[in-house]
Amino acid sequence: MARTADPTTHRLPLTSLLHEPLISITLDKGQQVYQPGQTVRGEYQIDAVEPADIRAVELSVLWYTEGKGEEDFAVHYFERLTAGDMLATGLHELRRFQTELPNSPLSYEGVVVKIRWCVRVRVFLNNGKDGVAERAFQLGEVPYAQAVLP
């Protein structure tokens, strides 16, 4: 499950936790650390929402920055399922994904800025709301930065 108190799981903006369907994302073998060029594989499932209420589902494998300043991100892999796709295959079906990871940017646990990688699933509902879940993973093995703070 992507929405747990697991400290290895990336938090979501608080507002996204409201009115959202239940989304679970798992990576094969529970893998957390990948090397550049490796393939990230996994599956996701959507629950607690009626198929007719779904407008679209988007899966992204992306990196983003996190810290005190401006934010940046880039989507490495993207796929979108329409309501028709969801109805054709069944809502609760486990849906697989995979993509080969790039050489950079590597995950980085800096003090002022961090680079995070994750698999993100966003479910768009017909009522205009959406639900998001993320599963974090690490690309590369860059050591943590040391904090030198007053």
Binding site: P13, L14, G30, Q32, K68, E141, A147
Partner: protein
Amino acid sequence: MKVTAVQPPAIRGGFCPPQNPFATRFVRPGAMPFLFSPPIDREALVAKLAELQWRGAIVGPHGSGKSTLLAELLPELNRVGRRVVQFTLHDGERRLPIALSDRALSDAQTIIVVDGYEQLNAASRRTLDRHCRRYATGLLVTSHEPTHLAQLYQTAVDCELMETIVDLLTRGDRRFVSATDVERAYCLHGQNAREALFSLYDLHERRWRELHERL
């Protein structure tokens, strides 16, 4: 989740870095809910703005939640049929970045939202005001100081509110930031919750690394 993968060298004892709940990602307007003082809520505030003929100001010091409140109100404005055109002004932006002759800004269903109204020079404010009156266009602004517009809401931060915000952001996980830390940040930054949260960001970074070193 049980971590079964090979850990990177910097992780010892299975320690995974906790996410910093004070990062921009979580504290920026739109990510963090605005905490109203009951009985006021966003619906009531938009109703009050309607009573004010869609002309009002959100007033409060730096970092006290004006933009966060705006982000909370915008969906509600859309819901009640207002077409929102928003401008966010930064230091030194003395004019709106669009000509007011633009048709998109000239009808009674539209509400022009200016975040950082105090940046506009006097001439730009007068022009904007005249334009809005002429076309019955709404005008909602945020400002550090009272304006000629009726005050819709005054944002303010006290130590108790800071504590509530921190509890919300950390989801009760107070391993790295204590109530004393929050009080100290509030005393240091006063009404500027944004700066106080950024100082807690630094503290969080230092504390988890200290823990990591001990493991």
